[in-house]
């Protein structure tokens, strides 16, 4: 068991007054030093799951352990080992980056020279060593995100929980953050990383859990998920609009997995969509719906998600 950093056992949360659970009996384990992705659209239950792991929210069913400690009972031990990076920019804009980090370090019992050293170390890690004295409100969005991450690292946690850490940042900061996460994991830190950006998860996660409406739909390495569920998706637009008969005829085509109406187009999913493209176009022509637009999405976690939920990840 020494290689397990996080263990969820039918972890569930139903908010008071809610008719359906925000998290419905999710189970998985995360190994030490792993970068584990929690993928799903807004409202999938990602933040609720992370909140329970960070002892901010009591589970309403099942349980979870961090480094062997029960999140519902041994909260002090868990909190000492967990670094939380909330989705909000949870820092004080009117204070300098250094003063922010000093404050959060003190909450973990760091004072004096030890605190100063940790603050320097954290600023260094996120590439803000030369901006420590500046107020956070003068920073760009990406720099603010980096201070937010630094604040979760001060007490050298064993597990870092990152809730959508790259929302609203420029590509350069995004790369910096993603590389930084990979480096932290290489140093032995276990990272759970929630996002709705599939490309990011494919890039840095060793395994991903795909969640939607509180349920765990699939869990594996990105490559294995793409191989199992990926296929490719053709988005075919027609001004005539897709009738149910057209969808049915598409679904009957050999080598077509599914066809659904999506926005003003039809999404046709197939293991190798380009091979069946001619027959797809024939079906549209036969239905009197000439094709006006055609898009092809290569097999990816995005198409995995589409396969599993029938929904697009980003609305």
């Amino acid at each position: 068991m020494t290689d397990t950093a996080i263990e969820l056992t039918r972890l569930a949360k139903t908010y008071p007054g809610a008719s359906s659970p925000a998290v419905a009996e999710i189970s998985f384990t995360v190994g030490k030093g792993e970068v584990f992705g929690l993928l799903g659209p807004n409202g999938a239950g990602k933040t609720t799951t992370l909140s329970m792991l960070a002892c901010l929210l009591p589970p309403s069913g099942g349980g979870a352990r961090i480094a062997g400690f029960d999140v519902a009972v041994e909260t002090r031990q868990v909190k000492r080992r967990v670094g939380l990076v909330p989705q909000e920019l949870a820092v004080y804009p009117a204070l300098s980056a250094r003063d922010n980090l000093r404050f959060f370090g003190r909450l973990y019992g760091l004072w004096g020279a030890a605190l100063a050293a940790r603050v320097d170390e954290a600023l260094e890690r996120v590439g803000l060593a030369d901006r420590g004295k500046d107020r956070v409100e003068t920073f760009s969005g990406g720099m603010k995100r980096r201070v937010n991450i630094a604040a979760g690292l001060l007490h050298r946690p064993e597990v870092l929980l990152l809730d959508e850490p790259t929302v609203g940042v420029d590509p350069q900061s995004r790369n910096f953050i993603l590389d930084g996460i990979a480096r932290l994991a290489a140093d032995g830190l276990t990272v759970v990383y929630s996002t709705h950006y599939m490309e990011e998860a494919e890039r840095i996660c060793s395994r991903v859990a795909i969640v939607d409406q509180g349920r765990l739909l699939a869990l594996d390495t990105p490559a294995a998920l793409v191989a199992a569920f990926g296929g490719g998706v053709l988005s075919v637009g027609t001004e005539a609009g897709a009738t149910e008969a057209l969808l049915e005829s598409l679904r009957r085509l050999p080598d077509v997995t599914d066809a659904v109406r999506r926005d003003d187009a039809v999404a046709v999913r197939a293991p190798q969509p380009l091979r069946v493209l001619p027959r797809i176009l024939e079906a549209f022509a036969a239905a009197g719906a000439p094709v006006t637009r055609l898009e092809y999405a290569r097999p990816s976690l995005e198409t995995v998600f589409l396969t599993l939920t029938g929904n697009r990840l980003r609305d």
Binding site: C55, L56, V82, L84, Y92, L95, G109
Partner: protein, 254 residues
Amino acid sequence: MTRTIAAITLKDLSLLRNDRRGLGNLFFMPAMFIVVMTLALGKMWGPDRPGHPNAVTHNVPAWTLFGVFFIAQQLAGSILEEKKLGTFRRLLAAPVSRGAVLLGKLVPYLLLNVAQVTVMFAVGVLVLPLLGAPRLALGSPLALAAISLAASLSATGLGVLIAALAKTNEQIGGLGSLLVVTMAALGGVMVPHRVMPEMMSRLGLLTPHAWALRAYEDVLVHGAGLGAVLPGIAALLGFAALFFGVAVWRFRWE
């Protein structure tokens, strides 16, 4: 526990240092009321007679108290701001107790209240005589300090209560102004309780202000010591306990 409280206190004080508008409200406003009301209504109080309240012995403690309770809004706003920023989640994710978090949010405002009271009484002792008003004789500083601290506890308690009940800045502004101004009016800050009709004066005892003002008057006018004002202090601590109790009961730890 103490380290957590110290950490939050240091942080909140350095945030307050940058809050010019807030500090203006807390220091300049009551000081201005003390000076203007004392000078404008000096005649109403008649000649200065020992053993009788005058414009100074009423206005200094009354508007000090007004300023002390004004802190409730500032405190409530600061808790709401932490929630909006997400820093409140960080506080709760840290290995510290909820009690330490709440106390950490209180102590800086208690200190601010102490500074307010000191400045306002200094205005009474040092500034008002320069403007031709009678000098404020402090009587028992120990008794004054005890009354002020008890009043500050009920003011900060009210702040946490407002934070527990209000969900937006607008609600804090609305609820805060309503409570702070109504309580001050009823409690005898604007109009001394002795000129109120009996019923109003009694109704005023539902506010901490009335108890604090009577205790201040006992010390400043009648020369009472700490022992004589203990009932008033107990009443103030009762208000503090009530406000904190309801606040903790209704507080949203999220």
